[in-house]
Symmetry: C2
Subunit: 138 residues, 2 copies
């Protein structure tokens, strides 16, 4: 019997000028362009309390990543010694979930304009969470 | 056509004295007992660089949560006005992914002993990530 499996559903999509993993920033604050998050109609009620200026944690499904990688060179740099993927933020990992801290710039119906998102155009969004003091703030 | 769906695989399991959502702490630093993360053999190579003292972000699949909830009273307290789930850390949300900041106390083969985890016993673990300065540190 293999490990249990669960189904994650896309709640939205990243719209960004970034289209190429090789040239995209490794982390959101490393020069990412502003991006839109476009949500599916079925989840809009859950977004109603997100406001411009909010810091929001975005979870994505990194659909262009490899899931069979357990060790990697951090930042795709061969000069860095290979380490276990769970000690890195590499997209290549058994469950390719991206974790991004963004700032909401504006909202527009089913979309949020955000700053500091390094995810590629077309990446599925799977969750949004608030930043909580003490819970995941450092 | 509905939203795209992806398959997430359990990489391990939480072993904790916490068994009841009603009495469990709402956040890890609010009085959680120490817990173990037990990993499946297939991912152990990816864990080799995690050390006691490390701060680690644990992602879980909150398998006892409801997925049809879009608005909720924060902290399950009816005195708090109802808000969209994406402005809360409620387990009840379209994709019930838990995000936990823990400290590694020790490691033992395929297990990590951790501090500050409020997830219930038996909860599937789906990813581990390092805390990165500037990336998701506040």
């Amino acid at each position: 019997m293999g490990p249990a499996r669960y189904e994650v559903a896309s709640i939205g999509t990243v719209r960004s000028p970034l289209t190429d993993r090789a040239t995209a920033p490794k982390q959101g604050h490393e020069g990412s362009p502003d991006a839109w998050l476009e949500f599916v109609p079925g989840v809009l009620e859950g977004l109603e309390d997100i406001r411009p200026g909010d810091q929001v944690i975005v979870l994505t499904w990194l659909d262009r990543a490899r899931r069979d990688v357990l060790r990697t060179h951090p930042r795709d740099d061969l000069a860095n010694p290979e380490v276990g993927v769970f000690s890195t933020r590499s997209p290549d990992r058994p469950n390719p979930i991206g974790l991004h801290l963004v700032e909401v710039l504006s909202s527009d119906g089913g979309r949020l304009r955000v700053r500091n998102l390094e995810a590629l155009d077309g990446t599925p969004v799977i969750d949004l969470k608030p930043v909580l003091p003490g819970a995941l703030d450092g």
